[in-house]
């Protein structure tokens, strides 16, 4: 098996699985319990918080654990809108955000709780900071632009966006979804200048069901889940101690190995692109070498991405479609569409994404399998 769908999720790192297992079977106390088992659990959560804070370059008490990236995005968006209701309800975002952001805004807009402006990207998927600032209005309360795009790997100029937005209006909150960025590109919150930043565990070798939100000290957002007052009243519910412990360990490992790991990914990416470009008419989406090192999105006109993914899975190679689509619905990826990719190429696109365990041999074998599958499938075209 060759697993190259790490932007969807990763296998849990054995070392992480071990600490998670321990947190489940040994330090299984409730951090809120006054006894020693509770204290032990609380200590583990604190350590994890410190590890995440170290990775983001912030204070530990600026980190709030959530059930994942989606919840973190929801908390940032809903929490800001509710906290700034007097100022307004306008949000500026990019047209290439993850559904956790776009669908949340759409939903809130339908309820009349927000208005939003989508800033279109250029052909590589990048938004221009000037365009973002131009969209800011007097009643704008939040600007949210992702750090790294999940479909094509484009790095957004978040730092520049934050700087210009704050110049225009320091009252506007700046949020970034860094789910695909943490461990892959530098994401220090002070350098980015953001107020809020979402992260997720399962994209870097931690289990699913855990993530977090950085919320800069002094920035007020309204809690969305109330109850026992955990996470300093920000996110109630007994802490997912095993998940949090796993996230902490995975983030620490990612930081330790980041330089080496990203250099390897870049080499894998370069090699993969060189091999894929030998396939006739291969169309690489975006500009991968100038962006995140772990994602390659490539289309092969005449071959449907979904079919290619199935064919590759039959050979033991796991990748993803650039977008979910079917001939009945013809739903091309909103990201590729916003980038102006022609629909035929978008329909054929697949996403290949590296994780902590991939090797050069795997990537070369993968390229070979893709070449063969594309050749075979192109013989069976629709007329």
């Amino acid at each position: 098996m060759i697993y190259l769908d790490n932007a969807a999720t990763t296998r849990v790192i054995p070392d992480v699985a071990e600490v998670v297992q321990k947190a489940m079977t040994e330090a299984f106390g409730n951090p809120s319990s006054p006894h020693t088992l509770g204290l032990e659990a609380e200590r583990l959560v604190r350590q994890a918080r410190e590890a995440v804070a170290a990775a983001l370059g912030c204070q530990a008490d600026e980190v709030y654990f959530t059930s994942g990236g989606t919840e973190a995005d929801n908390l940032a968006i809903r929490g800001t809108l509710q906290a700034k209701i007097r100022k307004g309800k306008h949000v500026v975002t990019s047209a290439v955000e993850h559904a956790a952001v776009l669908e949340t805004l759409k939903h809130l807009a339908q309820l009349g709780l927000c208005e939003y402006t989508l800033v279109p990207p250029d052909s590589t998927g990048k938004v221009a900071p000037e365009d973002v600032v131009k969209a800011v209005r007097d009643d704008t309360v939040l600007v949210t632009v992702m750090t790294v795009n999940n479909e094509v790997g484009t790095i957004q100029p978040v730092a520049e966006i934050a700087r210009l937005v704050k110049e225009r209006d320091p009252e506007v909150c700046v949020h970034s979804d860094a789910v695909q960025a943490l461990g892959k590109v530098r994401c220090r919150v002070k350098e980015l200048g953001v107020d809020l930043l979402s992260i997720s565990g399962h994209k870097l070798g931690a289990p699913k069901g855990v993530g977090g939100l950085y919320c800069r000290q002094g920035v007020r957002i309204v809690s969305q889940i109330t109850g026992g007052g955990q996470e300093r009243e920000m996110r109630s519910g007994t802490e997912n101690v095993p998940g949090i412990v796993g996230l902490g360990r995975a983030v620490a490992l990612a930081m330790e190995q980041m330089e080496e790991q990203t250099a390897l990914w870049r080499r894998l990416q370069e090699r993969l692109l060189a091999l894929l470009e030998e396939i006739p008419d291969a169309q690489v989406m975006g500009s991968p070498l100038a962006n995140a090192p772990h994602i390659v999105n490539v289309g092969f006109p005449g071959v449907r991405g979904e079919v290619l993914v199935h064919a590759l899975a039959a050979e033991g190679l796991f990748v993803s479609t650039g977008s979910a689509c079917s001939s009945r619905r013809e739903v091309a990826s909103h990201v590729l569409k916003a980038m102006g990719v022609n629909p035929q190429a978008a329909e054929g696109s697949i996403r290949i994404s590296f994780g902590w365990e991939n090797t050069m041999e795997e990537v070369e074998r993968a390229a070979e399998l893709i070449r063969e599958a594309v050749r075979d499938l192109r013989r069976f075209q629709r007329y």
Partner: protein, 394 residues
């Protein structure tokens, strides 16, 4: 309060000499539908079946509403053939009805008593029983008044050979014939909206279903197959386990794509499907094929197209939806619970490879000529050899 469910069967009551075959099958089907609730005895006496209320009544009712061959059924109290016992039960039944309908002693409720005296040895005649019971209930419950034309509550009393049955409710069944009495048919199950409905319609006429699905991995996904198995499971709730023969269709589609003219691809694909379905029918000793075709719905469902595909098989092909509009099919699909599964957006083999402009009036001779280029025997053998059978439902 209720001891039993009394089950009436309609159509099969009229089947002459074969009646006991039908009755036995219905009895067995009901037992099978209720077995996992801990109910396995279904009593049969004359033209009624009886099921003990040994599990949640609502659950039993829901299950019975899916058993073909049942005309209607009633939750009943069973008492001896004694007037006092009958009176006592009727009082209890009315008390429960008043409670359920929240009728206080100040409110009004119209009622009537209907006695069916199948046991002519019972000392009182039906009118005498009606009068006696009516008087007894009127004395007991001042809120009752008699209305023989449109009563709000009917108290029905069936006096039979050994017992009397008392009830107030008749729940309609789905009708039809017990699954199995009409033989076995092979259903071409695609994953779309129509074919499961076609299967349901034939089950309703007593046909035991074996499904065949054409799987074209990697052109269709594993999820498309899961979807078909889910559909088969819904069908199985109307008449027992449904085996699904998942035929490996990929090589055939590739061969058609390679060797045949695009505009005839759909016709030839349908012909291959029918041939394979007939082969499965032979293996399974099934006597008919079933498809979800509806005349004129798509290019492959014109009269000419149907004629061209039908020509390759000798078994009768049942097309129960042939005269249905799409909206009618959708309504039925929603009612039987397959619609929400069918609309999941996984492609099936009918939608991939489909040319933009398929032939709507294929000429048989032309189709046959085009097919000559296919290594027919080899393809059929390979597809059948790689067929996997999954039994859906309990």
């Amino acid at each position: 309060m209720y001891d039993l469910l009394l089950i009436r069967y309609g159509e099969i009551g009229t089947k002459g000499k074969n009646r006991h075959v039908f009755e036995q099958r219905l009895q067995a089907n009901i037992a099978a539908a209720l077995r996992d609730l801990g109910i396995d005895e279904v009593e049969r006496a004359y033209t009624r079946l009886y099921v003990p209320v040994k599990a949640d009544l609502e659950e039993i009712i829901q299950r019975l509403q899916k058993v073909f061959g049942i005309a209607s059924f009633s939750p009943v109290m069973r008492v001896p053939l004694e007037v006092e016992a009958i009176e006592e039960a009727a009082v209890k039944l009315v008390a429960e009805s008043l409670r359920e309908r929240r009728i206080s002693p100040k409110d009004k409720l119209t009622f009537k008593v209907i006695t069916h005296r199948a046991n002519k040895g019972f000392p009182l005649t039906s009118p005498e029983m009606n009068k006696r019971l009516g008087a007894c209930l009127l004395r007991k419950y001042p809120q009752l008044t008699v209305d023989v034309h449109q009563p709000q509550l009917s108290v029905e009393v069936e006096i039979r050979e050994h017992y009397t049955y008392i009830y107030s409710e008749r729940i309609p069944g789905v009708g039809g014939l017990p699954v199995g009495v009409s033989g076995k048919g092979v259903l071409l199950l695609s994953g779309g909206i129509d074919s499961p409905v076609a299967g349901y319609q034939m089950m309703k006429r007593g046909v035991e279903i074996t499904a065949v699905h054409f799987h074209s991995y990697p052109f269709t996904s594993e999820r498309a197959k899961e979807k078909v198995l889910d559909l088969a499971k819904v069908l199985s709730s109307y008449g027992g386990p449904v085996p699904v023969h998942v035929v490996h269709f990929t090589e055939i589609q590739k061969a058609i794509n390679e060797h045949c003219p695009p505009k005839l691809m759909v016709t030839i694909m349908r012909r291959m499907m029918l041939r394979l379905a007939e082969a499965v029918a032979q293996r399974e000793r099934a006597a008919a094929l079933i498809t979800g075709e509806s005349l004129g719905q798509v290019a492959s469902q014109t009269m000419e197209s149907i004629a061209a595909t039908n020509a390759v098989v000798r078994l009768p092909v049942f097309r129960p939806l042939i005269g249905f509009d799409k909206t009618e099919i959708v309504d039925l699909a929603e009612r039987i619970g397959t619609y929400s599964i069918s609309i999941q957006p996984y492609e099936d083999c009918c939608t991939i490879f489909v040319p933009r402009h398929p032939e709507t009036h294929p000429k048989l001779a032309e189709v046959e000529r085009a097919e000559e280029r296919l290594p027919m025997e080899e393809l059929m053998e390979e597809a059948l050899a790689r067929t996997e059978v999954v039994v859906c439902g309990k």
